[in-house]
Symmetry: C2
Subunit: 287 residues, 2 copies
């Protein structure tokens, strides 16, 4: 049971966490802080928040657990304000989709309190954002990855793990660098590819017509290009090295496809597409 949960940055991720914990009766009070007062007020109306505050210092007062759910580029400033105001026994976790930069920010700001910081990343979400997008079952059956530091208290990790389990999530532990490499491949790279595709097509002369003849496959493929640009700008900056490596490797793969098409190499194309299809069907399911 959490007496007071503080959410810094009340979007899809934070509000879904609040709703899941409230539905489970696992939290007594949820207090929010964010820069957009209308969003906070809407959160209160929707029952996501019991109340909200106009400063981080006021929001974290008396908190048991503080969840930082702001874009990666805002983490360090938030940690600094938390560190100067939070109770000494409050646990801190985050939901950032790249962990290296978050941990650096926490190390820089949290001082002796670093043992109570548990870096986390729920593999859930979507293109919708804001408090209204939240729903209590978002984390059911989803993975939450925790990437504790050597300094992290085991008891702190255990409590954060328990919080996410109550929401229906499956917990896994990864080391930080490994997390960032794997997520660069499955999440950060695909977002770059989708943004780049839509941006490229938008620049073509016949762009209205191109989108006009787009079918369901295109809609699915480009859905992630409707994601929050600020969040993804920050992911790029935070996980840039892994991401640039992957983009360059991927360009090598595209070169091979283009060469096979140019050469009319039907066997190579069939081999490549068949391998991709069988891997996807095997790993993800044919859906």
């Amino acid at each position: 049971m959490i007496d007071k949960l503080c959410i810094i940055g009340v979007g899809l991720i934070g509000s879904s966490l609040s709703l899941a914990l409230k539905q489970a009766g696992a939290v007594a009070e949820v207090v929010g802080y964010g820069r957009n007062r209308d969003n906070l007020e809407r959160g209160r109306e929707l029952g996501v928040l019991d109340r909200y505050e106009s400063s981080i210092a006021a929001a974290v007062n008396d908190a048991d657990v503080i969840v930082v759910a702001v874009p990666l580029g805002a983490m360090q400033q938030v940690f600094a304000e938390i560190a100067s105001a939070a109770p000494l026994d409050a646990l801190i976790t985050d939901v950032g989709s790249a962990k290296g930069s978050v941990v650096q920010a926490a190390l820089a700001e949290c001082g002796d309190g670093i043992g109570r910081f548990v870096p986390g990343h729920p593999i859930a979400g979507g293109e919708q954002s804001g408090v209204e997008a939240g729903f209590a079952t978002l984390y059911q059956g989803r993975r939450v990855i925790l990437t504790p530091l050597p300094q992290t208290d085991a008891a702190a990790s255990a409590r954060i793990e328990a919080m996410w389990r109550i929401c229906g999530a499956n917990i896994e532990y990864l080391d930080i660098e490994h997390h960032d490499k794997v997520l660069a491949a499955t999440s950060h790279l695909p977002h770059m590819l989708a943004y780049a595709l839509v941006h490229h097509l938008s620049n073509l002369n016949e762009h209205d017509e191109i989108f006009r003849y787009a079918a369901g496959g295109f809609r699915d493929f480009t859905r992630i290009a409707s994601s929050d640009p600020v969040m993804w700008r920050d992911v790029c900056i935070a996980n840039g090295d892994a991401l640039v490596d992957l983009i360059q490797q991927y360009q090598g793969e595209l070169d091979r496809v283009a060469m096979a098409i140019k050469a009319g190499d039907a066997d190579e194309l069939l081999r490549l597409f068949s391998r991709a299809k069988s891997q996807r069907d095997l790993q993800i399911g044919n859906c």
Copy 2:
């Protein structure tokens, strides 16, 4: 009313056409031909086909309308067999997703019958294939593009247009080259990107783990990599020039993204992602 519809290649597209026309009472008999006898037999059991034949010559006998729904690479041989056996007044159409190569094949094989050939492309379908994937409402509200030749009889186009309208489709006319360029952008290029991504990730050492941490966005983004490899091999060969141009232009766009990440150019990344999101939301809807 079509007395006898002949479908050469009974997959998702052909079987959905049959079911839609049957549901509308717009066809008396549907006869199929394909290389896979089990698939044809299943089509008969499902009511997609009234009967099937073991040769194209037998299948097209007495047909009013012949729909060619085979992979692009098989079109020319099929046209040759149709030309030597079909009634002189039978209309012929196809459903290929690139039109230039189909029209060349038809010109090579159909001789004086070319006026009765109406090149077509329903913008519908999906990753599922085979007769069992068909359903009567597939074409409801979807676009069917017709790309008639100068030689095409106006009455033939009008009848094929009417057939698709009965299925609930909206008909549009494009010239052949323009069709192939637009479809390369919205359909062929995204398929290459998805195949290349899954193929690339499959080659990484930690591929099992990478797919393990894939979330819903990845599932959507890579869905088209579960499409039929033979069909897409043939699209690459048929529309290779337009596709290679687009892949190379897209590589330039990816270069710009990678450079902006390397340079830590947050403003450029935000500008690019914001433009892509607003274009997608505007053109496709935020879903």
